[in-house]
Amino acid sequence: MIKYFKDIFLGAQSLLVGLWVTIGYMFKPIVTVQYPREKNKIPPAYRGHLEFTRDPETGGSRCVVCLRCVQSCPSKCISIDWEIKGEKRKRILKSYVQDFTRCSQCGLCVEACELGAIRFSNEYELVGFAKEDFYFNLVKMLEKR
């Protein structure tokens, strides 16, 4: 009989303690970020889509078409087109397309690039109406920038 009343008392007490916690949190400030108006700070290490770094000397990209990024990609989402020019049969980059719909942002391509020609952008607000909107041509993007 004593246990019966003790259980009721302790149970009620535990419930009141729980209520006290939630009412306390009700008057604490909000922790969510109101997205379109506020924005989170994106850390510099953020993995967005790929983009070229600019070579300060030429103003173009540093890419020498060694194809290591292509070979290291697990999802085979990078396609590079090039032409061979000159006496030294140097490869000249024509287009560098990343199929972002298939990219898994593992970072292997960026690490494979010894010249540091590619990097991750901080772009995270990506929308589009078609799959093709996410085929990023890095060469053109560099020219626009």
Partner: protein, 324 residues
């Protein structure tokens, strides 16, 4: 107009007022519930439509009205259609006898509380019909749970109300309020108040007793198959029931419209009445966002092993004290 008897006009006006009161209340309550839930969970709640999202529920209601009601295969169509109405209408009709202030009461029935309780138990029927006619096993389990739960909890609820009725010697809502002029019954009958409050949580299927709709077990319980305004009516019915519970608690335990005097107290007493109702409703919301759900057998154990004995003892003590 002259041909209409004045009584008829009075009925018309009061029913329009009550229906709009219930609708408005439901809308406000949905908003309050979402805001309270949001702030308890440290997020702002609806913020987009109108300042601080104040029009959100209106828009949601419009959206629900615009939606098609989907009838699944092999349902019992007439019952499927009746159930949401049955959930909503009695909840509204019961407001007829609620005394908002000395002069704001549609009808002062002699047996007001019996009228309310009778209508409130129709709610079970609505849930049972909804669960049965949906041709969905989750709905059926939810409905069966609801029936067992509501029937069980009606007993402690009546026991606690009976203790108050012993003291007032009247079933009329108005006279119950007036009997509390010297002292609110929550002071005299704290146990009855607690029992009534807990039982009413179970009656309205609010957490932690929201077993009929327990969404982690039964997806959405009895209204799994409902959509559009049919679902909306269940929702309105639930909120109307919440206000009803708040109103009964206020009338029975919190002294109804009484409070610090305001000008035109015959009418403005409704302010105090509503304030108390909203306080009760707020605590129901507060409970919901704090506690986990109880299990079905625990719910029954709690009712039969704790609530009913306490209610009976309370009733006996009340009777004894009154007799002496």
């Amino acid at each position: 107009m002259a041909l209409l008897p004045p009584e008829f006009i009075r009925i018309l006006i009061s029913s329009v007022l009550i229906v709009s009161f219930v609708f408005l209340n439901a809308m406000i309550l949905v908003y309050i519930e979402r805001k309270v839930a949001g702030h308890i969970q440290r997020r702002p709640g609806p913020m987009e439509v109108g300042p601080h999202g104040i029009l959100q529920t209106l828009i949601d209601g419009l959206k629900l009205m615009g939606k098609q009601i989907i009838f699944p295969d092999n349902i019992d169509k007439p019952l499927f259609c009746i159930a949401p109405l049955l959930a909503f209408v009695p909840a509204v009709v019961a407001f007829v006898v609620i005394p908002f202030s000395p002069k704001l009461q549609a009808v002062d029935l002699d047996m007001g509380i019996i009228f309310i309780l009778a209508l409130a138990s129709l709610n079970v029927l609505a849930i049972l019909l909804a669960g049965w006619s949906s041709n969905n096993k989750y709905s059926l389990i939810g409905a069966m749970r609801s029936v067992a739960q509501n029937i069980a909890y009606e007993i402690p609820m009546l026991l606690s109300l009976l203790a108050v009725l012993f003291m007032t010697n009247s079933l009329s809502m108005k006279s119950i309020v007036e009997a509390q002029k010297p002292l609110w019954f929550i002071v005299v009958q704290p146990v009855a108040f607690l029992i009534y409050f807990i039982a009413s949580l179970a009656e309205t299927n609010r957490a932690p007793f929201d077993l009929p709709e327990a969404e982690s077990e039964l997806t959405a319980g009895f209204h799994t198959e409902y959509g559009g305004m049919a679902y909306g009516l269940f929702y309105l019915g639930e909120y109307a029931n919440m206000v009803m519970v708040g109103a009964i608690t206020t009338t029975f335990f919190l002294g109804g419209w009484s409070g610090p005097p305001l000008p035109y107290m015959e009418y403005s007493g409704a302010f105090w009445f509503l304030a108390k109702v909203y306080f009760i409703v707020f605590s129901m919301i507060w409970f919901r966002w704090t506690f986990p759900r109880v299990r079905f057998d625990q719910l029954m154990n709690f009712c039969w092993k704790i609530m009913v004995p306490f209610g009976l003892v309370n009733l006996m003590i009340t009777a004894l004290v009154l007799k002496i």
